[in-house]
């Protein structure tokens, strides 16, 4: 399936899928939608990317945080060095070999951790009700109203947890299957 058209189209479509999945997640409270469907739609973006470019490339471009690091030049101050590091990390020259890659395992966003984080967020959203003296999962709403999102509360947090869980699970399955 490695066609040029597909590979190019997916580059444009990926942000569309992601934005749409978040839109679905947010409208889920009162309309059809929610964390589960949002997570599925969000994972489509990565699944298509995997189909077009392979697991390795998807992992590299989305689930790996790579930091470039190099030694301080003797005539540069600390501040100037930090600025240079920042610029190097934001504007990357692909052809240039990095001097030293600071690629920590902790910073890797593995699908399994995504799942665990989702579960943890969902459990936490349920426990908020418990801490306020009500039963588990009793909804707790903040007073603040945010345009576009509406009011914030634990149900939204729960849905976010489901979103992450589903996203992580689909990605885990797809990555595992495409490896073989």
């Amino acid at each position: 399936m490695r066609t040029l058209i597909f590979a190019t189209a997916i580059r444009i479509l990926t942000p569309v899928f992601l934005v749409f999945s978040i839109y679905i997640l947010l409208r889920g409270h009162n309309h059809p939608g929610g964390g589960f469907i949002g997570g599925l739609i969000g994972s489509i973006a990565f699944v298509f990317h995997t189909l077009a470019h392979g697991t390795k490339q998807t992992n590299k471009s989305y689930f790996n945080l790579t930091f470039y690091k190099f030694d301080k030049k003797p005539d540069h101050g600390k501040f100037r060095h930090a600025l240079r590091l920042l610029r190097k990390n934001i504007v990357r020259n692909k052809n240039e070999k990095p001097v030293f890659i600071w690629n920590y395992y902790l910073l890797r966003l593995r699908p399994t951790y995504l799942m665990a984080t989702g579960l943890l967020v969902a459990v936490f959203s349920g426990s908020v009700g418990l801490f306020t003296g009500k039963p588990f999962m009793a909804a707790y709403w903040l007073n603040a109203k945010i345009p576009l999102i509406g009011s914030l509360g634990t149900p939204l947090l729960f849905d976010t947890g489901v979103y992450l869980l589903v996203l992580g699970m689909v990605l885990k399955m797809v990555f595992t299957m495409s490896k073989d």
């Binding site: 799942m115 579960l119 943890l120 459990v123 426990s127 009700g129 418990l130 039963p135 588990f136």
Partner: protein, 499 residues
């Protein structure tokens, strides 16, 4: 402790433990520490729950703050608390065993999180007060069991897991259909509300047998009742002991728990029509299970067939349906959870030493490890029901209940089956412990420190079995109170719907 906290902790504690284990995916030792903490707190919480249920009556929490018929309620009565306490004790023993004996690769591929999720599923089934929620928790159990049985991907394991999953999917389908029929007939899913409706003059009360058939078949498959038990011995012997001990010791009894709960709460109004069927099924389950065991020559397969036979005893109490018989059933479930887990653990210790489960290849254990033989002997005699061990009291209560109700044939069958159970245990004793070690087997016996530490979980469970046997009175009283509570379902309905 507030019921809100108390009832949610048995669910949240294993879940949080499992999440932590997933975060610590590559650090097996840290996972072990997490699981150990979870098990200890779990025992404490369930003990606390039992105390609170005994002093303050049935505990209820309404999830999300939605009152009972609309939301999902978690309910804990004495039966729930007793079962959860037993489960947590058996869980701690199995954890100790698998910490030492389970191979590294299974631990690295998520044994601990799955084990915790399985425990969460057990708590969920025991605690929920909503019939659809019950089905969902059963699915949690099914998925975790499937993953655990298949973990390691040996050929026999995959075969066992496939059989397990296929038949259990069918059972789940039947359950879901039953729940659908129930909802269509009465428009309710909350168990307390259903109990209230079937006791009222609702137009559809006469049709109660229709969902009843689905539930009996569905949970019958899950609990391995007579014609539907073939999957159990075909799959339980496949995984290593650290997995199969928990599944064999705990999970099949969960089906019996649901039958007890549903029949006392909802189907009790038409128990008269179901009773003959239940009596026949329980007798046949006992007899067929024990006869099936006679043909086996594998340590774990014999024990697996005995699970079926013991399930028959538990069903017998429900079939007789008098307070004493149901109390006997409850006592028997508790006794059997501990004893069966312990026997599986003993078989695991033997296999760890002698590298085999086959009766033909084993032998001479008594000569080399008298302590181990002693440990097996007590558990086996307790399973067979010799006084003063725990199995005796359970069978005594069941037999007395049966005689009082006039079910002489069933009581006769149960006593005969006890005798054959003893015979079957003697067979294991003769083959594994008594006969000389076969000469052509060249396998060396593993004499390491870890093999001795494996005795510890067995001793731990044995202590509880002995206490259950020698100080049976408090537990019998508890099971009688629990049976009373089950039969007086108005208290349950009142606690869930009106408090």
């Amino acid at each position: 402790m507030s019921a809100n906290y108390l009832l949610i902790t048995p669910l949240m504690l294993p879940l949080l433990g499992a999440i932590t284990c997933v975060f610590l995916w590559r650090h097996v030792n840290l996972q072990t520490i997490v699981v150990a903490c979870v098990q200890l707190i779990f025992i404490g919480i369930t003990g606390l729950m039992l105390r609170q249920v005994l002093t303050e009556g049935i505990q209820v929490t309404h999830i999300g703050g939605w009152p009972a018929p609309y939301g999902i309620a978690l309910v804990a009565d004495i039966l729930t608390a007793l079962l959860l306490l037993t489960t947590s004790i058996a869980g701690l023993a199995v954890f100790m065993f698998s910490h030492i004996a389970l191979d590294k690769s299974r631990k690295r591929f998520g044994y601990f999180p799955l084990f915790l999720l399985l425990q969460m599923g057990v708590s969920g089934v025991c605690l929920t007060g909503d019939i659809f929620n019950l089905y969902v928790w059963f699915e949690v159990l099914l998925i975790c069991c499937f993953a655990l049985i298949a973990l390691g991907s040996k050929k026999s394991q995959l075969e066992g897991a496939l059989k397990y999953v296929t038949i259990n999917f069918i059972a789940s389908g039947l359950l879901l259909t039953g729940i659908g029929v129930m909802y269509a007939l009465y428009g309710a899913l909350n168990m307390a509300e259903l109990a209230q409706i079937v006791r009222s003059s609702h137009a559809n009360v006469k049709l109660l047998a229709l969902p009843g058939v689905f539930f009996l078949t569905g949970f019958g498959i899950k609990a391995a009742i007579f014609p539907l038990f073939f999957w159990l011995p075909a799959s339980y012997h496949a995984p290593p002991i650290g997995i199969s001990a928990f599944i064999a010791g705990i999970i099949s009894k969960i089906g019996i728990y649901t039958l007890l709960r549903l029949y006392s709460l909802i189907f009790s109004v038409e128990i008269n029509s179901a009773q003959p069927l239940l009596l026949i099924l329980s007798g046949l389950t006992m007899a067929i299970g024990v006869i099936g065991a006679a043909a086996q020559m594998d340590f774990r397969k014999i024990l697996s067939f005995h699970i079926i036979s013991q399930i028959g005893y538990m069903l017998m109490g429900l079939a007789i349906y008098t307070p004493l018989a149901i109390a006997g059933s409850i006592f028997f479930v508790i006794h059997n959870m501990l004893v069966k887990t312990n026997l599986f653990l003993v078989s695991g210790v033997v296999a760890h030493r002698y590298r085999s489960f086959s009766l033909v290849r084993l032998g001479g254990v008594y000569l080399m490890h008298p302590t181990l033989s002693f440990l097996f002997l007590i558990s086996a005699l307790s399973l067979a029901g010799l006084p003063p061990l725990s199995g005796f009291w359970g069978k005594l209560m069941l037999a007395k209940g049966g005689l009082e109700a006039g079910n002489y044939i069933l009581v006769g069958t149960s006593l005969g089956v006890s005798l054959i159970t003893l015979l079957s245990m003697t067979k294991i004793w003769n083959e594994v412990f008594w006969k000389p070690r076969p000469k052509r087997i060249k396998n060396s016996v593993r004499e390491t420190m870890s093999a001795y530490t494996l005795y510890f979980p067995v001793f731990f469970l044995l202590a509880f079995i002995l206490v259950l046997g020698f100080f049976a009175q408090p537990v019998i009283e508890l099971s009688q109170r629990s049976a009373d509570q089950l039969l007086h379902s108005e208290t349950y309905i009142k606690a869930v719907l009106y408090d």
